[in-house]
Symmetry: C2
Subunit: 158 residues, 2 copies
């Protein structure tokens, strides 16, 4: 007879835990907001490997002055080339303000304004830049949101 | 008795018509493809009023070197300003090749490569340019797809 209240208590706990879990599960919009926060932090830390891990295998990067860069392999190669050209530079400020978040099923789109300050090596003046970014995200087979499409262009200083 | 076969014939015709209509109704992807064809034709004809009519009231235009242009009123004013600056120029070639079309419910996203040739006034040489475009489309309350977000940047000559 002692076992029954124990089991009931366990069942009640499980029920409460399950209810809490459902209540605590982030909405698709909250998932995108979490993605954006993580995406920004990776850029702030110049964690290139982390940023590249967020790309879908068949992602497309649409960068100014470049032909469309199609597929993660090509994107990795392009990013590595850019990094070689800016060796010694350090991101000291990275701000992204996201807008227009729309989530529909496993697809999401959004755009952001960007403000970046990069410290140059050898006493050169820092580089301050402003831009805009548009992202198309997709929830991949493993449940994680990844970048399917990215586009960027410059903005004037506000 | 004569009426019955007539009615049956009518019913059969109505059934066939309904079946045909369902069969002929374009899929969401076909709707976007029709939108793209129309969008391209308007650009080829320099039908600015037609292009602006395709914008959602709360659309956002993300043009290079510009701050985000938010809302149709601001977009119309910006386009009119650009047109004043290129009076006398004529689009003689406009090519858009769309890729990555994704439709989910009332939202769609896609990107395109662009090739444009513009004839300049007063014997100046024509201007040939290459670029990329990303669009987010939304099926508005009237059932028509409209542009919610557009971004553009330049591409090198292929």
């Amino acid at each position: 007879m002692r076992l029954m209240p124990g089991l009931c208590g366990l069942a009640a706990s499980a029920f409460i835990a399950a209810t809490f879990a459902v209540g605590a599960r982030p909405s698709p919009r909250e998932e995108i907001e979490a993605f954006n926060k993580h995406y920004l932090e990776l850029h702030q830390k110049m964690d290139t490997a982390g940023v590249l891990a967020l790309w879908a295998e068949d992602g497309v990067d649409l960068m100014p002055g470049e032909a469309p860069i199609i597929g993660k392999k090509a994107i990795v190669a392009w990013v590595e080339g850019v990094l070689k050209g800016i060796a010694g530079y350090k991101v000291t400020k990275e701000e992204l303000e996201f807008h227009g978040i729309e989530v529909n099923g496993d697809w999401a789109s959004e755009w952001a304004t960007e403000h970046q300050v990069v410290e140059a090596p050898e006493g050169k003046p820092p580089i301050e830049s402003y831009g805009k970014m548009a992202l198309v995200l997709h929830r991949e087979a493993d449940g994680a949101w990844r970048v399917k499409q990215e586009m960027w262009n410059a903005s004037p200083k506000p």
